[in-house]
Structures are given as structure tokens and as C-alpha cells.
Amino acid sequence: MRKKIFWFALLCTTLFSALLVNATTSHAAEKTYTIGTDITYAPFDFQGSNGQYTGIDIDLIKAIAKEEHMKIQLKPVGFNAAVQAVEANQMDGVIAGMTITNARKQQFDFSDPYYYAGEVMAVAKNSKVKSLSDLRGKKVALKVGTQGAAYAKSLQKKYGFKITEFDQSNDMYNDVITGNSAAAFEDYPVMAYGIQNGIKLKIVTKPAQGGNYGFAVKKGENPELLAKFNKGLKALKKNGQYNKIIAKYLGKSSVAKATATAQKQDNSLWGLVKQNKSALGNGLLQTLYLTIISIVLATIFGVIIGLMQVVPAKWANWTSSTLIYIFRGMPLLVLALFIYIGVPNLTGNKISAFVAGIITLTLNEGAYTAAFVSGGITAVDGGQMEAARSLGLPYGKAMRRVILPQGIKIMIPSFINQFIITLKDTSILSVIGILELTQTGKIIIARNLQGFKVWTIVAIMYIVIITLLTWLSKAVERRINK
């Protein structure tokens, strides 16, 4: 018994220190600006084959920071997560190939434009679609929240096509390549860079409805950051660095080089594993951390709430029912976004995506746990409690020695099930930019465009850890049932 308590205490301590370390990373003595970037938006934001994020946006913001002696921390979290994080004061600025629009100006203050890009339509290499008027009755793939999407939507009525939207550029391209959609709309430089790097699409329209890319901060916040960006941009344009950066990604010679290296890569399943083993390993580790910490916290939370559901106290029953109702009813995705983006808006305190993820899983999985914990206890014959109480055992002792041991046996299969669901649900946390296994997969695919093979690798990794988790749970179950 004492040994068990010791291990439990050790586990708790480890978990809480892990949380603390994560929570304290946002503190710093001197003001460091946190800048969100996209992750799958080559040539502006993407992961190079060395695992480092690179692109026009990244090089530009780094050069400006150097020029202006600013400390910045880049957070490659994806366009949507970055934009929402800035709105929620979770980050200071966003540079992510973001077109300056009037609608966005309601929420953001933009820098001077740093790049001008028009929208183009791209179709599969062998497609017969040549112009907008060929789209009638066909499907068009768009990326959520992009200028290309806005442009396409403005044409939808006139040309009569249907729309499917994607979170990732690569998914949008693939939908066109496989023939599900007839065309995609994309910023010209992005599309051109992608095609030269092996995406099997062709551009069939001239750049239209050009838009300016700008660096953005939340409206009314961080004016000094914006001023420094503008000043730095001016300086880079003057001293030629700006042109160098653009040429590095869009100049003919560099594209040719990139294509050459892309072709040399070993794209077999095993080759992909070898090239990406550190990224995949880190993703796996994050998934495991999230899973283990969440399972422990959700179990503690769930058992407490589950017990509150059955104790003879009205306020406890009511509190428990309400918590279960809310957190079981809310989709995990919404809960994650609400906690990461909504809560800081309400309280004014930032939380790291990792902590937000843990809280999300604890609340959601905990609510499910609470429901089957109270169900398990209720399933124990009522005569058991009466017999225990009639012997003089107080409620707590009767619960602990008689009811819970029987209830837990009933609950074990549900616990194992819940552990596996928790593991799988960690993948949803990719929406708030946590670099777990699924997010890692998306990022690798954005670089090498090997969607099918990379998802195969990721799927196998999930199956392996789920198998291990199941096996571990069954071993524990056998011990308890002995």
C-alpha cells in the first residue's frame, strides 16, 4: 500500500513539474515578440529538409528583427492557429502570407505591404479546364481563409461551381490531382513554387485581383512592433537584402536547385522514415506526453466528478451533472480552440498550446470518465451499501472498501477504452498548433508532398502505440481481477 502511494506521488510530481516547465517558457526578462507563421505555405513558410522552418516570410522577419535589434520567437503553428492566437493576445504578430483586406483590417493592424501577389487557377496536368468558364457544375478546392478562397468565392455565382475547403495546401492540391476537384485557387508565387517542386498541377490563368501581403498585429496592440517592421522592411529594400531573399525562393536558379534535391531524395517508405526520423520521433514523444499526462489528470478529474455524481449531496450531484453535460457535449475541437483562444481573451493570461491541450483533454476525457465511473458505482447492487452501512461503516469507508472495488471491476473495460480514445484524440490538438504526431505528418507532407506514404507511416505509429497501450491496460486489468 505504502509503495503504491509512493509511486503515485512520484508520478504526480513529475507531471506537475512537466506542466510548470511548459508554462514558464513564456516568461522572459526582456520583451521577446512571439510571431506566428504558417507551416505549409511554401515558398513563404515551410519546413526545409533539415527540419528548420524557412521561406520568404521566415527569412524576412528574421532579417528585420536583426536590423531592428528585436528579440523574436517564431511559432510555426499554421495560418489559422497563428491568426487566432494573435486575436487572442496569445501571440504578438503573424507573418503568414496574409493578404491585406478591409475585412481583416477590422481585427488587425497591417504593416506596409511586403509582397504583391495575384491569384491564379491551377488544374491537373492532363485537365481540359482552360478558363474560369469551364468550371460550371464542377468542384473547386480552396484553402480555408486564404485570399485565393475569397477570390474564388467572388466568382462562384458567375461561373456556377461548387466549393470544397481544406485546412492544408497539400490536401487542396491533392484533391485536384486525384480529380475530385477540377481546380484550385492559390497565390501565384505559392503555386509557381509548388509546381516547380513537383506538384502535378498547371497554372491556366493570369494572376488576378492582386493582393498585398502584410505583417499583422492585433488591432490597437503592439504599435511599436509594427513600426519596427516597417522601418526594417524599408531598410532591407534599400540595401538589397529584400531582393536577395525573394530571389532565393523565386529566382529561376534556386528553384532548379530545389527541384534537383527533391528528386534525389529517397521516397520509399523506409527512406521517408529515415529522413524524418527526428521529426517523427519528436511528434511521437509529444503525443505520448499529451496522452500520459491527460490520462492521469482526466482519470483523477473523472473519478472525483463521477463520485460527486453519486454521493448523497444535492449540490455535488448538480455540479457533477453540469460539468459532465458541458464537457461531454462540447466537440473536442471547439473545446480546444475555446480554451486556447477564448480563455486568454477572457482572463488576459496567455497559456501555452501544450497546457491548453492538456486542459482540453482533461476536461473532455474526464467528463466521459465521470459518466462511466458514476455508472459503474450505480451498477453495484444497492443492497451492498445498505449491508455495509448497517454494520456501522461510515459512507466513505463503505464506498472505499465495498462499493468501489466492485464498481471498478465494472469500469475497467471503459477505462481501457477511454485511454485509447484519449490517445487518438490528441491528434485533434494539431488545430492549436501542438507539434504532435498528426501535426508532424501534415508538416512533412507540406514539404515532400508524399501524402499517402507519410500518412501510412503515421497510421502505423499510432497503431503500434495503441497496441502497446492496450497491452499495458490488459496487464493491469489482469492484476486487478486476480
Binding site: G383, E386, A387, A388, R389, S390, G392, P394
Partner: protein
């Protein structure tokens, strides 16, 4: 023993409602030390409810219930303490399936610090021997027959050294050939001077063992007296009617 006088149970004007349904309609009953009282009556007359009011498994709606000197209708009374001296045996045994037979009997004395583990174990084995189940100490309740389970349940209640034992139809869930063993244990207990209130349909047992028989119907005590009086010369027409039905069945 906490009773100032010789009374173990004093019930005055006990009323119990379930919602608007009045189940006990003002009962009065006194049970003396060492007395064995058998309660009989038709189904639904409130016998179980009455018994459960004596250890507060049900909250009395009105009236006064004094058990072993404790006024349990008083909210401030520590019921856990009072229950330690009231043993209860249920129709469906309610043994704890997660514990062995021995652990079932030892649980309360050890948890409530009435005895050290080793003393409690010795006593538990002795009690199991008394109910004829010494060799089943390490068995799990699921492996016992109904009659054996009920005898373990009696031993479990006795392990707390109660002053009073309540039995709610302890043999009605048993196969006929098991009934005798359980009744024998109860007779032995009665002979040793245990104060007992027994709700039962075993008229033979009531005749032989009871000091007093109480007949209940419709939430009232209709008639009470010694076994001869009730079984041979019932006064109340309801009692006569009930006995005619059960004895001719």
C-alpha cells in the same frame, strides 16, 4: 449495554411516508432485553419498512425511535455508532463479493478499530465455526449456496457484538432444504439470549422461538401477544384471515 431500563427498542407513534403514500401509520412497540419478537403480516403491510426505520436505513417521517438507549429520531445522534450495536440480516444476504468469507466477517471490526487484525481473524473463524462454515473461510461468497451465504451474513453481523439483531425474511430466498440450517443458527442465537426482531413467514419458527408475535397489516400493528395467543386464539379478524391463508397454504 446502554439501556437505562430493560428496554432495547422503544418505538412511539412511528409514521413513515413515501411521498404521499403513508406506509407506517403510527406504530408503537417496545422490545425488552433478551426478547425475541417475530413480525408477521401480509405482503406490503410495512414490516420491512418498520425494521429499516430501526437502524435508519429509512428516515422515519414522524415519531420517536429509541434503540439501545439512543434516540435515533434525533438528527444529532451518530448513526454509525448506533448501527455498530444493531446487527441486520437481509433477505438477499448482501455478502460482499469482492471479499472472501473470512474478510466479510472481519471487515467491520477491523475498519472500525474494534479489534486488531489478528484478534478479529480469530474471532471471525470462531463465528464461522459456530454457524458451521469453518472450512469455507477462504472461499469466495459466489461459491456458496444460499443457506451458507445467509449463515455467513449472520456471522458477519455478530462480529460487531451487537446488542440487537434484526432479521428481514432471512429464509424466504432459500431453497426449502437450506431453511433448516439457517433457522437452527437463529434458534441457537435466541437461546444465548440475543435480543431479536424477526420478520418471517416461517410460522413454525415463530411458534417455537418467539416470546412475542406481532401481526402487522396496512401499516398498523393489528395484534400482538405470545405465540399461543396469536396462533391459537387470534382476536382480530385480519389476523384470523391471514393465518387461515398461510397455514392452509
Amino acid at each position: 449495554m446502554n439501556a437505562v431500563d430493560n428496554n432495547r427498542v422503544v418505538v412511539t407513534d412511528l409514521v413513515k411516508n413515501y411521498g404521499s403514500n403513508e406506509v407506517l401509520k403510527g406504530l408503537n412497540l417496545t422490545v425488552k432485553n433478551n426478547e425475541v419478537v417475530c413480525m408477521i403480516g401480509p405482503s406490503g403491510s410495512g414490516k420491512s419498512t418498520f425494521l429499516r426505520c430501526l437502524n435508519k436505513l429509512e428516515d422515519p417521517t414522524k415519531g420517536k425511535v429509541v434503540v439501545d438507549g439512543f434516540d435515533i429520531s434525533d438528527k444529532k445522534t451518530n448513526m454509525n455508532k448506533v448501527r455498530e450495536s444493531i446487527g441486520m440480516v437481509f433477505q438477499h444476504f448482501n455478502l460482499f463479493p469482492n471479499l472472501t468469507v473470512l474478510e466479510n466477517v472481519m471487515l467491520a471490526p477491523v475498519e472500525l478499530k474494534k479489534a486488531t487484525k489478528s484478534v478479529a481473524e480469530k474471532e471471525a473463524r470462531q463465528l464461522l465455526a459456530e454457524v458451521g462454515l469453518a472450512e469455507k473461510a477462504d472461499a469466495s461468497p459466489a461459491s456458496l449456496s444460499g443457506g451458507q451465504e445467509q449463515r455467513v451474513a449472520i456471522a458477519r453481523a455478530l462480529a460487531m457484538h451487537p446488542d440487537i439483531m434484526l432479521f428481514d425474511e432471512p429464509t424466504s430466498a432459500l431453497d426449502p432444504e437450506m431453511v433448516g440450517d439457517v433457522l437452527d443458527v437463529m434458534k441457537k442465537l435466541a437461546k444465548q439470549g440475543m435480543t431479536m426482531i424477526v420478520v418471517t413467514h416461517e410460522m413454525g419458527f415463530a411458534k417455537e422461538v418467539a416470546d412475542r408475535v406481532v401481526f402487522m397489516a396496512d401499516g398498523h400493528i393489528m395484534e400482538e401477544g405470545d405465540p399461543q395467543q396469536i396462533f391459537d386464539h387470534p382476536q382480530n379478524p385480519r389476523t384470523q384471515d391471514f393465518l387461515r391463508k398461510v397455514l392452509n397454504a
